[in-house]
């Protein structure tokens, strides 16, 4: 993919690009929150106000999905969401690297989610009941089968989180790269500037159409996808955590229904 993507403008020697830009995002997010929270006011203004609005959105989502008992997990969820959103959006800035377009970053985020929700579930219910719940409300003879299937489905969760984010971001990047290749100085615009008459007509019109298409449709779509994928990652994290917390209650409900 390096063949069609321009290398980033800022590189540290010996360090992979996505790591450099992950550090950049960390510096930006930490710096913003530090500046905003250095002089806290009761009536927030400016940056503090903005960040409070953002965090209130996350809290609203948590209240909708997980209810009141999801509040303690706001730091984890909001950090993941802001990091992924910043990574997605940074990939749209020319000359920068979208860190979520790299499998390693996404796998790191998904592994954090995976370990966190198992840890939270085991802490809430105790290790034994939590593991026992994997077998599900089925007859005893079927429990080993259910246990294995459930383990596999839990292992598939970080995989699907990783690949969904990666595929969406990289797919969009390749689409943009191909359109730019078609449009740029090697493509339609270059043909328009080459001096020949049919080139000027077809290349000029085609170049204008592709520019309008990119600016009016593809870039807004990519921005939408950036927000949507961060939203989906966060939403699935919440669902996994609330599933790990609430599993025991569902279990007893099922039993009450059946007997």
């Amino acid at each position: 993919m390096e063949a069609i993507e321009h290398p980033p403008i800022f590189r540290l020697p010996g360090i992979p690009d996505h790591v450099t830009y992950t550090w950049l995002i960390m510096v930006i997010l930490a710096g913003l929150t530090f500046v905003a929270s250095r002089n806290l006011q009761l009536v927030p203004r400016g940056l503090q106000n903005f960040l409070e609005v953002v965090l209130e959105q996350f809290q609203q989502m948590i209240d909708d999905v997980m209810g009141e008992k999801g509040r303690p997990y706001l730091p984890l969820i909001a950090t993941l969401g802001l990091f992924i959103l910043a990574g997605n959006l940074m990939g749209l800035v020319p000359g920068m690297v979208g860190v979520t377009g790299n499998l390693n970053t996404n796998a790191a985020c998904a592994l954090v989610v995976f370990i966190a929700y198992h840890w939270i579930g085991a802490r809430k219910q105790g290790l034994g009941p939590y593991l026992a719940h994997f077998a599900g409300p089925v007859p005893l003879a079927l429990k080993p089968l259910m246990f294995v299937i459930e383990i596999i489905s839990h292992l598939a969760r970080p995989l699907s989180l990783t690949l969904r984010l990666f595929g969406n971001i990289v797919g969009g990047h390749i689409l943009l790269a191909v359109i730019f290749l078609l449009m740029g100085l090697d493509g339609l615009i270059g043909w328009a500037l080459s001096g020949s008459v049919p080139g000027a007509i077809i290349g000029g019109i085609g170049g204008l159409v592709t520019i309008a298409f990119t600016v009016g449709f593809l870039y807004p779509l990519k921005i939408l996808v950036a927000f949507l994928q961060a939203f989906i990652f966060v939403m699935l994290t919440m669902l996994y955590i609330s599933g790990a917390i609430e599993e025991s209650e569902h279990h007893s409900e099922h039993h009450a229904e059946h007997h």
Binding site: M1, D64, V65, S160, L163, R164, F166, G167, N168, V170, G171, I174, L228, F231, I232, M235, L236, L239
Partner: protein
């Protein structure tokens, strides 16, 4: 009709093999990888579109009947769409591996 379609298919599949054999470079898997990436992505995208269309259709139906519950239905719809879409994304990832990962030595 069907037999001619099969013949065309076989010819299309045989062409890169012959071309590569004439080339003398060996690696006859690479052209098949390109074909497999294209066909696989086409099937995945089409069926994913069908599935997402069904999901969105019933979600919009439900929202029209119950405008009060629109927000919750929309959230559920987006999660469902993400889960459906991830199946096509798996195919996209496999297509990208077939196209771009040079380290895989099939031959």
């Amino acid at each position: 009709m069907r037999r001619s379609l099969i013949l065309v298919g076989l010819a299309v599949l045989a062409f890169p093999t012959a071309a590569m054999a004439a080339d003398g470079t060996g690696g006859w898997i690479a052209p098949f990888a390109v074909i497999a990436a294209g066909i696989g992505m086409a099937i995945a995208a089409g069926l994913c579109g069908l599935g997402q269309g069904r999901a969105v259709a019933s979600a919009v139906d439900a929202m029209a009947r119950q405008p009060g519950a629109a927000a919750r239905i929309q959230t559920a719809m987006i999660i469902g769409l993400a889960l459906i879409e991830s199946l096509a994304i798996y195919t996209l990832v496999i297509a990208l591996i077939l196209l771009f990962v040079k380290g895989i030595n099939f031959a």
